[in-house]
């Protein structure tokens, strides 16, 4: 307004009538804000005063001293390699509970994402049956309370399993690595030859390649023949022995634990080097494509660097890894690792439940990419796979990520239902046992809430950052 000189000059003679200050929006705003603030502060003070008074009159101790006191109770399972004994402090129980929460949330997010994407894509399938199956899954699972699903897995599926002595066993072959390596190398060479002669040569000659299915059958036959020949020549089979390695019972799933030996560190370094190298290859390939238009198979090269390179090093450094197999001694299985029924049921219920929501998000995200985009991509001459990879998925992800974030948050918060079965997450261990042993409800509930708030904040910050990175770059 001030920019308009005419108006200013017109207003000079009659100054604008100023409202009385109680009608002035600015004053009113201040007044109401002060009022509300005073109200909130008084209410908070009232609560704090009551709490302090009650705690004092009932002789409840306060403060955070309890965190350094000895806990004296045991915790069923710990993750991330944390060791905990009864002699540790209450503070340590907090850490253990927190880590267990993170552990189950992490795996839950991982599984739910995979399952959710698969079901979301199934829902969009042109195959009527597949699409309807996905729909039935979504509509059933998401309309049943999560807690009920946890109970179902825990009490109805895992509880009735046989005891340790009647475990359901699954044997796994112990592979003879020398045999495997020779077979793989020779077969790879043979299959390459097959492909070279059957596909490349014939195509170059008369534009008619060998059909894919024929190639696949020929390859399988080749591998079988070569495998048997190697057995004959070397005198030992591919399978050194069958070993009972997986045991499912009402104490959970016992499985062999890989134990690295001396020299395994080199393989670890190889993975790190592979990742770094793959990163540089990607940058180089992009630069080259920008400059010359030539493409480079980045995906295959990265795969080779990240998996192939460490694998080769692992083999040549003498396979420095062995497995610790579970064995039934006394009451339970010792050795190996175990997934407890509490963990399994919580993880499965969380993943299945969240996947039903993610599936809907994925469907909506892919549907949100306008059909014109696909048509335009086709018009440019792209084929089905690049259209999906370069046109549809990047745009769909932009729509998918924000709601996906809130699903991840929900999953993390829902992992607190562990308290209903006996998975020792932070709510069960810290807001449960520790609270009952110390009686310090205020401090403990506040700490537990702070943990979830922080986790929420961290996940949403990360997702916002990712979202920004994926966002449409406009001119």
């Amino acid at each position: 307004m001030a920019a308009d000189p005419k108006q200013v000059s017109a207003d000079v003679s009659v100054p604008p009538s100023k409202p009385a200050f109680w009608n002035d929006p600015a004053w009113r705003a201040i007044f109401f804000q002060v009022l509300v603030l005073v109200g909130v502060v008084v209410f908070a003070a009232f609560l704090v005063r009551n709490t302090l008074h009650n705690m004092e009159s009932r002789g409840i101790s306060s403060g955070f001293d309890f965190l350094s006191k000895t806990a004296g109770f045991s915790i069923g399972e710990t993750h991330f390699g944390i060791s905990y004994t009864e002699e540790n402090s209450y503070g340590k129980t907090f850490i253990v509970g927190l880590m267990n929460t993170i552990w189950v949330s992490m795996w839950g997010v991982f599984l739910a994402t995979i399952l959710g994407f698969i079901i979301g894509v199934m829902r969009l399938s042109t195959n009527w049956l597949v699409s309807k199956l996905a729909m039935v899954y979504i509509e059933t699972i998401r309309n049943i309370p999560l807690l009920l699903q946890i109970f179902f897995w825990y009490f109805a599926i895992l509880r009735p399993l046989p005891g340790p002595r009647g475990s359901i066993q699954l044997s796994f072959p112990i592979i003879n690595f020398t045999h495997l390596i020779i077979t793989v190398l020779v077969s790879a060479a043979a299959i390459f030859l097959l492909w070279w002669i059957g596909v490349k040569k014939r195509y170059d000659a008369d534009q008619k390649a060998m059909p894919l299915w024929m190639l696949v059958i020929a390859s399988v036959v080749t591998v079988l023949i070569i495998g048997n020949v190697v057995s004959l020549v070397t005198g030992f089979g591919l399978v050194a022995q069958w070993n009972e390695s997986f045991f499912l019972n009402n104490r959970g799933l016992s499985y062999p634990q890989p134990i690295p030996e001396e020299g395994f560190a080199i393989t670890g370094w190889a993975v790190a080097i592979g990742v770094v190298a793959a990163f540089f290859v990607r940058r180089w390939a992009k630069k080259r494509q920008d400059e010359t238009g030539e493409q480079f198979p980045v995906f295959l090269a990265s795969l080779g660097l990240i998996i192939g390179l460490p694998l080769v090093i692992f083999i040549f450094s003498g396979l420095p890894l062995h497995f610790d197999y579970p064995k039934l001694t006394g009451f339970n299985f010792t050795g190996g690792s175990v997934l407890t029924p509490e963990f399994i049921s919580l993880l499965l219920a969380l993943s299945f439940y969240t996947a039903s929501f993610i599936a809907e998000i994925v469907r909506a995200g892919i549907n949100a990419v306008s059909h014109g985009q696909t048509e335009a991509a086709r018009a440019v001459g792209l084929r089905a796979n690049p259209i999906l990879r370069l046109v549809i998925i990047p745009q769909a992800l932009r729509v998918i990520i924000p709601p996906l974030t809130s699903q991840y948050l929900n999953l993390t918060k829902n992992s607190s239902l562990a308290a209903a079965i006996a998975y020792p997450d932070i709510v069960l261990v810290f807001a449960g046992t520790t609270l009952m042993q110390t009686g310090q409800a205020v401090e403990i509930i506040a700490m537990t809430m702070a943990v979830y708030l922080t986790l929420s904040l961290l996940i949403s910050t990360f997702m916002n950052w990712y979202n920004e990175k994926m966002a449409l770059v406009e001119r």
């Binding site: 009551n50 009650n54 042109t126 195959n127 609270l435 537990t448």
Partner: protein, 372 residues
Amino acid sequence: MADAAQNHIVGEHPDLLPPKTEVGVWGWMYHNLFSSPLNNFLTFFGLFLIWVTIPPMIDWLFIDADWVGETRDDCGREGACWIYIGVWFKQLMYGRYPDEDLWRINSMYIIGAIGLIWLVWPNLKYKGWIGVFMLFLFPVACYFMFSGGSFGLERIETPLWGGLFLTLVIAVVGIVASLPIGIVLALGRQSKNMPVIRAICVGFIELWRGVPLITVLFMASVMFPLFLPEGMNFDKLIRALVGVMLFSAAYMAEVVRGGLQAIPKGQYEAADSLGLSYWKSMALIVLPQALKIVIPGIVNTFIGLFKDTTLVLIIGLFDFLGMAQAVATNPDWLGFAVEGYVFVAFGFWVFCFGMSRYSQYLEEKLHTGHKR
């Protein structure tokens, strides 16, 4: 086909039937089930899945199930024991509410159902009055009917409340009470010229949205007694309800905020230019439009809350699922937990699925007038 095309005389079109693979059942099957090798595989895999899951399920649920009888011994067959549900039906529905007072719950159910159907049914008159009745009078009437203690009704302590009845009480109270709080919070969060109020509202909303309901319920059960002045204490159910209310109010606030943001700026400005005060412009212009848009969102929040009410069993209230858990440990009826879960799951599914369909219907209906 190719021959036919070559043989006809130029300019003349033979009246060929469309190919069999394009029309009718076969055409549909070809296009929707067997259009490619991958689809063939998927179809057969899907059929296999159905084959291994559905027939045993039907056997267990219906064919092999026991339907008539009164004791555990009547359940001798392979399938489900629905007698178990029959025996404990009253507990699953009403908890330990006295038998002779069940009419109090049932009559309110009937009144509530009539009111709801009236509100939901399209093109009925007096919806406004019915709405006011359902929102204000009905809950108060329910309170006096359910807990008694006045009007000659016997007082019934809340520990006796349970089952589906308790689930409905918690969910409905949670949603009805959280709506006004949520509206106030949303308005506070949207107020541009009052940063303090906005900060308080944002803090409140994010605090409750960032923590799981179970910690809120723990707080309600072990911390609320400390917050209150000495000597004053609330019933456990009331404490849980307060927790649920605070929690769902935060979610409701975000739903309402979505509606407020969807109202075009012109509406706010038009209200201002008419000289309406803030509250008048909100109450007469903005909120009626915003709330209408967010009805599907409110229904969705309600579905979420309805499912979440099961968490109260962790603090020792016997809701629908809690009751199913409790009767499953009865020494005379051990081993029928699955039947209980299936029954409860079916109950929740019917409610939630019905509501989600209703919200989708509303969304479509409301969209027509507001899409710009």
